[in-house]
């Protein structure tokens, strides 16, 4: 299957890396071009399935649905526990590198 697919370009790998906030060396990019291409090839097997006349499913688990909980608050973790994995902290806050305006929400 792999040889039927065009190998991913360097730019495509860089773009995915950027979206994932991962820094890659030139060597790693070259390696991932091959690995990611074969991954896509594996998954593209699905394309060969004939889905005509089959109802689309919104979710992998159709039998289980509408699981909800009551709106009852519970005691949360202690600040000590919350911050125990923080690579860096300041007072009771996590400290992280400067963030560009993300403007999402």
């Amino acid at each position: 299957m792999t040889d039927q697919l065009q190998r991913l370009t360097e730019d495509e790998v860089r773009r995915v890396a950027k979206l994932c906030r991962i820094g890659l060396s030139d060597e790693e990019i070259e390696r991932l071009r091959g690995e990611m291409t074969s991954l896509i090839a594996e998954v593209s097997v699905l394309q060969s399935i004939n889905t005509i006349g089959i109802e689309p499913t919104g979710h992998a688990v159709e039998e289980v649905h509408s699981v909800m909980r009551d709106d009852t608050p519970r005691i949360a973790l202690s600040v000590v526990d919350v911050l125990s994995n923080a690579p860096r902290r300041e007072g009771d806050y996590f400290r992280v590198p400067a963030v560009m305006d993300n403007g999402e929400g």
Binding site: S66, V82, L83, Y93, D101
Partner: protein, 492 residues
């Protein structure tokens, strides 16, 4: 120069009022909590944790959808939206992509007496992000940020309006009306200052008569209704200028800078597919039973527009007055309470609806602006305003005295009777006391007496003014006029 038509659509985020967060049981009241104390493995995004949907949030978003004439999806689901910023620890936000809970609604507003129907594309459920505090390292000047996760996971409802808005004023009114509905149905506090209600605007312009949309710009960071109005006005003007100078509008996100009164470019809008939405594997789909929707519909209270119409029909208020007193549910409650108390004290009245509206809107509105406190939260209780209006109607005090009393009551919270007594504002209705003042004024102004005798009726008015001056405005004007005529006629 080409004339342009603005095309505006609003996206409004509102936090829902719940006890716990959207997908975990942490307390949702982050405003007053010390940093990182309402946090658990789920909202920290630790591996191996599972989110569970808060049913109260779903109930409240359905209630919102019903209040805004939306269809409620029978089948809905949640999706992951890639979000590579530290204010969501998971690296994604749980949101809804193609099956929002509420869709295809509308909101009717009234702009300068013209009815406008603005469409609502969808209202979907998602989670709020953590709070970031930007800091600068003292020595190196290097920037960094502090994260408080308390807000992460608070139920957030996003309403996406259709691009049916055609002016900054329409946008402002639409936003006011939307917030008012959320407050009426009790799903959100709707506070822009506290950040529980946030608005972004998509603004584009097109030559008048052209149907095709222009390139849209997303405007953010508007922290008040005023800011929304001014930012949109600015953006319409900026885009018109660019096009008129032969330029091209760039699709981008711009931020409103209040201090400068302008929008600045934040970054180019990423393509939609960069969010890489996919169905949230940790949450099974949600099937909304029609019986549940019917139960929720029973909870819908009287909406602002219904209350406005009732005030117009039953109380005879003008559309303007009715709109003003129904601006928030609590103000409308206050207004209705004034009328009720008035009737309890004085019995039925044909004028109380109008006078209570005047007092609430004009006089208390002014005091409320000056004091930066909503009328309904001021120390001046509805029953005391009713009492004060009663004193005017019984001619115990005049309108100008009542205004002095109201101003004092607005801060002291004392009753009308006590205030009038303490400030000595009661009208003088004692005829002998007024008679003395009239005599004094007549004796002091012989030339005006001569004018009156010569047939100049207006001279009587001069004497009324003088008597009011002497009595510091407290004399009952009707008695004053009567006594002046009586004493002048006696001189003939």
């Amino acid at each position: 120069m080409t004339e342009y038509e603005p095309v505006i659509g609003l996206e409004v985020h509102a936090q829902l009022i719940t006890n716990s967060k959207m997908f975990c049981s942490c307390p949702a009241d982050y405003q007053s909590a010390p940093p990182n104390t309402h946090v658990c493995p789920v909202c920290l995004g630790l591996p191996g944790t599972l989110p569970v949907i808060n049913s109260e949030a779903i109930k409240k978003i359905i209630l919102t959808g019903l209040a805004l004439n939306c269809s409620i999806a029978e089948q809905t689901k949640f999706d992951r939206k890639s979000y590579p910023y530290p204010d969501l620890m998971k690296g994604y936000q749980i949101s809804q992509f193609d099956l929002p809970i509420c869709y295809d609604g509308h909101l009717d507003i009234d702009v300068d007496g013209e009815a406008r129907r603005i469409g609502i594309e969808r209202i979907h459920m998602e989670e709020d992000v953590a709070k970031l505090f930007h800091r600068t390292e003292a020595g190196s000047g290097e920037g960094y940020a502090l994260v408080d996760v308390n807000r992460a996971g608070v139920p957030l409802m996003e309403m996406v309006g259709r691009p049916d808005i055609r002016s900054a004023e329409e946008a402002r009114q639409y936003l006011v009306a939307y917030r008012s509905i959320l407050q009426y149905i009790g799903v959100s506090t709707g506070s822009m200052e506290e950040g529980s209600f946030r608005c972004d605007a998509n603004v584009s312009i097109r030559p008048k008569g052209v149907l095709e949309y222009g390139t849209k710009v997303e405007v953010k960071n508007m922290n008040s209704f005023r800011a929304v109005f001014h930012a949109i006005e600015f953006e319409i003007e900026r885009q018109s200028k660019v096009l008129n100078e032969g330029g091209r509008i760039v699709q981008e996100t711009r931020g409103w800078v209040e201090a400068k009164g302008e929008t600045i470019s934040l970054r180019s809008k990423e393509k939609a597919n960069d969010y890489r939405f996919f169905p949230e594997p940790d949450l099974p789909p949600l099937i909304v039973k029609q019986s549940w929707v019917a139960e929720i519909a029973e909870l819908l209270p009287e909406l602002p527009i219904e209350r406005r119409v009732r005030f117009e029909d039953e109380l005879g208020l003008s559309p303007y007055d009715a709109g003003q007193v129904t601006a928030s549910p609590r103000l409308a409650d206050y207004y209705e309470s004034v009328i009720q108390h008035y009737i309890e004290i004085n019995g039925p009245s044909g004028t109380i609806a109008k006078s209570a509206a005047n007092w609430t809107i004009t006089e208390l509105g002014r005091l409320s602006n000056d004091g930066q406190i909503p009328v309904e939260d001021s120390p001046l209780k509805a029953e005391y305003l009713a009492e004060l209006i009663g004193l005017i109607d019984q001619k115990i005090i005049g309108t100008s005295q009542a205004k002095i009393a109201a101003e004092s009551m607005f801060t002291t919270g004392k009753s009308a009777k006590i205030t009038v007594e303490e400030l000595g504002l009661a009208q003088i209705t004692d005829s002998s006391a007024i008679g003395d003042a009239v005599r004094e004024v007549i004796e002091a102004n012989p030339s005006a007496v001569a004018d009156y005798m010569a047939g100049k009726e207006t001279a009587a008015k001069f004497f009324v003014g003088q008597v009011m001056k002497v009595t510091k405005g407290k004399a009952n004007p009707t008695i004053v006029s009567e006594l002046i005529i009586e004493q002048l006629e006696a001189k003939k």
